[in-house]
């Protein structure tokens, strides 16, 4: 089976003021995502994981390298092509408080991508009920405004917007990091359910290793603009080969006082060994 998305040797440098170059954010990243697969992308703040997601979506412009989607090079796709690609790839952002326009009703937010792809407004509005149902929101949510919903509910709306066009790839940029613990688990299950029923692929960006274990088939670990390790989720999280991955795994506190003490000691041992 051929890959849905391939990224080859991607470099990205944000332009600084004037003629000087800014720091290089991505330093030669290569990865691939198969249809129906979740690739977890783990890394700390500033590692470039969000920038990589934005480059795939066309929100950031790479300096070199290739992004290939279904065999088509979309690294520097035209605006027109990008608008058409909205049918193929979508996004769920981290912060459900700023990713929904506060001035629009939920029905407008959900109908918007459909209308943008040429659907009649009346027809798009009819689809809204079905979308709300898919993400477990009641139909009367359509006439409300984002501020009337909790964080978890808003994130459901954002997910409904992402699946409205039945895309093949959804970039999930820390979709559960801003949510409460109990909401987190429910939203993750919703994403997995949607994947099983629609066969959509996820590029799942997160800093939380327990979330990655829960949703990913494969994991890529990013550190300072480079991928240090990629592999099946069980291999990477049980037998990490790179020191940074090991450090990351031991740093995450576990919710068990005794196991956490062991982990703490292991981390300190690793620290002194270095």
């Amino acid at each position: 089976m051929s890959d849905l998305l391939t990224i080859e040797d991607l470099h990205l440098r944000y332009p600084a003021r004037g003629l000087r170059h800014g720091p290089e954010i991505l330093k030669g990243v290569s990865l691939s995502i198969a249809p129906g697969e979740t690739l977890g992308l783990v890394g700390e703040s500033g590692s470039g994981k969000t920038t990589l997601g934005r480059a795939v979506l066309g929100l950031a412009s790479p300096t070199s390298g290739n992004i290939t989607y279904k065999g088509e090079n979309i690294t520097h796709a035209s605006k027109k092509r990008r608008r058409a690609l909205a049918r193929e790839m979508q996004v769920v952002f981290q912060d459900p408080y700023t990713s929904l326009n506060p001035a629009l009703q939920i029905s407008d937010i959900l109908a918007e991508p459909l209308v943008a792809q040429g659907m009649k407004a009346a027809e798009a509005r009819q689809r809204v009920g079905g979308l709300l149902d898919r993400v477990g929101l009641p139909a009367n949510a359509a006439e409300r405004y984002p501020r009337e919903f909790s964080g978890g509910q808003r994130q459901r709306v954002a997910i409904a917007r992402a699946v409205a066009l039945q895309p093949r790839l959804i970039v999930c940029d820390e979709p559960v990091s801003a949510l409460d613990l109990s909401t987190q688990a429910v939203v993750l299950d919703l994403l997995i359910d949607l994947q099983r029923s629609a066969g959509v692929s996820y590029l799942f960006i997160t800093h939380d290793l327990s979330v990655v274990r829960h949703v990913s088939h494969r994991v890529a670990v990013m550190y300072r603009g480079e991928l240090v390790e990629t592999g099946p989720v069980a291999d990477v999280t049980n037998t990490p080969s790179h020191d940074y991955t090991r450090k990351l795994l031991l740093a995450a506190p576990t919710a068990d006082p005794d196991r956490q003490r062991e982990r703490r000691q292991a981390r300190r041992a690793l620290q002194t060994a270095q």
Partner: protein, 613 residues
């Protein structure tokens, strides 16, 4: 079909509370409604000119030259040529209104269109456009309008058009800066990914959000245009066949000694028109700036940065805003003698007044102790009241909060009855605080060192304080203490900033440390180091720690005891192992079962779509 959100199911009948529109709120304000009424009345007078005026505005009858007001058929009298002042005033209203519309309209259209383009596209386009409009701004608009007289032919419409062009830079800069702020909002990115075209994003997502300030400046621009048109006419520029408040004032000015009352009419109408426009703009600005009581759910869930910044500002404001603590009259226990324990809290309540004059309790009867050398975790989800509990102990709640408790004592000192100054004395020496967002709690305009030293200067000389802080900065694991001491907050990382704040917090050798989500904003590897540091410092100093967090991993790492909060109530408390191994309350059970299992990984294989579309 899929997992339904329990929160929504639990409250399906939530009434759809609409925030009333800005316009409707404007009408509820006396200033707004009277300014609008005055403006509409004047415009209506102008529109009814054909009905209301008896003579043509340029009709002159020398028999009525300088006629007194009240002369039959000449209600406001006649001017020095015997023209009807009433008819001329009505016509001049129309000229003023058209001037305002042309001037403000031109400035608004040019400024908004180019401001949107410049702010949204940015980069080179922004550079060129900003430069052009800045250049335009340097031209003296009035002089140019006069110099271009031959081009405009002196019609007031074309003069106002040119003046409007010179008004555009103000709007351009306003719109451009607003757009730059909105452009980076995630919903604009989401709209781009949704495949929306740029014009659609600009009109639907950007312009709609920033319309408020534009409407306000439009009112001011219109008043400026009206004033300038009158001024130019006063100077005699433009056709003398066009009745205008400027030319009327000019005519009356000649008669000022013989017929001073003639000056009153044009001045009165002009002041009313300009004044109502300016006041309307002001009222609209007040409406937009005022807090909107109806949207309580969104204002309650502030973003962490704002929360921390608000607290920080309050700490600087020298306690004037600290709410007075008061013991309820029912208090039976004598608060003077707490039985051991560093912190004793009994039946703590924090309430906020609601728009409908009821009180809503966010902390509802919380009781607990923190012993010396003990780390107590306060866990709960957002809105559980855990931060409110911590802040009420610190005395950092906003002034409208009503705090009451049967007992609230720190190190044997009762703070529920004590005065603000007593609480301030406790802060920094007996209680210390570590915030959630280290960056938001450092003032960007002072060096890190000077901010940390400040807290100590009441107790020691500046030199000693500096030495103490440098020593502590080294103690908290900052590699080059002197460099960090002299750095500004933006020059250090979030982890370093949190270390510096911890150094500042423990500098006063506090007995009780209150940490509000101290590692939530940090990376997981940095979090582990900060937790290590807190543990070491706690055992070194023997402090009691109240740790507010939502992260059970942090609780497991650090805490001896745990309090689980929900909706302002402690639902369960106990030793940390007990709570994790054997949670009693169903809410705790639910929370603990929500923790993602560490041992299982996803094993099902990718499913590909059976059919496309």
């Amino acid at each position: 079909m899929t997992t339904v959100d329990p929160q929504l199911v639990a409250q399906p009948a939530l009434p759809a509370r609409r925030r009333s529109g800005a316009f409707r709120r404007l009408l509820r304000r006396p200033l707004g409604v009277s300014a609008l009424a005055a403006l509409l009345a004047i415009v209506a007078l102008g529109l009814l000119e054909p009905v209301l005026s008896i003579h043509d505005p340029n009709f002159a009858d020398l028999a009525f030259a300088n006629a007194a007001p009240g002369t039959p058929d000449w209600p406001l009298g006649g001017d020095r040529f015997g023209r009807d002042i009433w008819a001329r005033s009505l016509a001049a209203i129309n000229v003023s209104v058209i001037s305002g519309l042309i001037g403000a309209g031109t400035g608004l259209v040019l400024g908004t269109v180019f401001g949107l383009i410049s702010g949204y596209i940015g980069r080179r386009v922004d550079g060129v456009l900003s430069w052009t409009f800045n250049l335009l701004m340097t031209f003296p608009a009035l002089v140019l309008v006069i110099v271009l007289y031959p081009v405009t032919g002196g019609t007031y419409q074309s003069m106002m058009f040119i003046f409007g062009v010179f008004l555009a830079p103000g709007i351009f800069r306003l719109v451009r800066n607003l757009v730059v702020g909105v452009r980076s909002e995630l919903y604009v990115d989401a709209a781009r990914v949704s495949g929306l075209s740029d014009p659609r994003i600009l009109s639907r997502h950007v312009l709609y959000i920033i319309r408020g300030p534009i409407i306000i400046s439009a009112a001011f621009l219109a008043s400026a245009a009206v004033g300038v048109q009158a001024g130019l006419a006063f100077l005699g520029l433009g056709s003398n066949q066009v009745p205008s408040f400027g030319s009327m004032t000019s005519d009356a000015f000649i008669n000022i000694y013989s017929q001073p009352v003639q000056l009153v009419w044009p001045s009165l109408f002009l002041s009313l028109l300009i004044g109502s426009l300016v006041l309307l703009g002001n009222a609209y600005r007040d409406v937009l700036a005022a807090p909107q009581g109806a949207s309580s759910s969104s204002s309650r869930r502030r973003r962490p940065g704002e929360k921390a910044a608000a607290v920080d500002a309050r700490m600087d404001r020298d306690d004037t805003s600290t709410p007075t603590l008061s013991a309820p009259t029912l208090s039976t226990t004598s608060p003077a003698t707490p039985a051991g324990g560093l912190l004793r809290v009994r039946e703590l309540r924090v309430e906020y007044p609601q728009p409908d004059d009821t009180l809503r309790a966010v902390v509802d009867g919380v009781s607990f102790d923190v012993a010396q050398g003990e780390i107590v975790g306060l866990v709960g989800e957002s809105g559980s009241g855990k931060t409110q509990t911590a802040f009420s102990i610190l005395g950092l709640l906003p002034p409208q909060a009503r705090i009451s408790a049967n007992e609230l004592s720190i190190a044997g000192e009762n703070v529920i009855d004590s005065h603000r100054t007593a609480l301030r004395k406790l802060r920094g020496s007996v209680i210390a605080y570590i915030p959630q967002e280290p960056m938001a709690n450092l003032d960007p305009s002072f060096t890190v060192g000077s901010q940390l030293v400040e807290g100590l200067t009441s107790r020691m000389s500046r030199k000693e304080a500096t030495a103490t802080i440098l020593e502590l900065l080294a103690r908290v694991g900052i590699p080059d203490p002197m460099r960090t001491f002299k750095s500004y907050p933006h020059e250090i990382s979030g982890g370093m900033a949190q270390r510096a704040l911890i150094a500042g917090a423990v500098a006063g050798r506090p007995k009780l440390l209150i940490a509000d989500e101290p590692t939530t904003a940090l990376d997981v590897t940095v979090q582990a180091e900060i937790l290590d540091l807190l543990r070491d410092l706690q055992s070194e100093y023997g402090m009691g720690v109240l740790l507010v967090t939502h992260n059970f991993g942090v609780v497991a790492d650090l805490c001896d005891r745990v309090l689980v909060m929900r909706n302002g109530v402690v639902v369960e408390s106990g030793a940390v192992r007990e709570i994790f191994r054997n949670p009693q309350h169903e809410y705790t059970q639910k929370l603990i079962s929500s923790i993602l299992d560490e041992d299982t990984v996803r094993t099902d294989l990718p499913v590909t779509a059976k059919d496309e579309g």
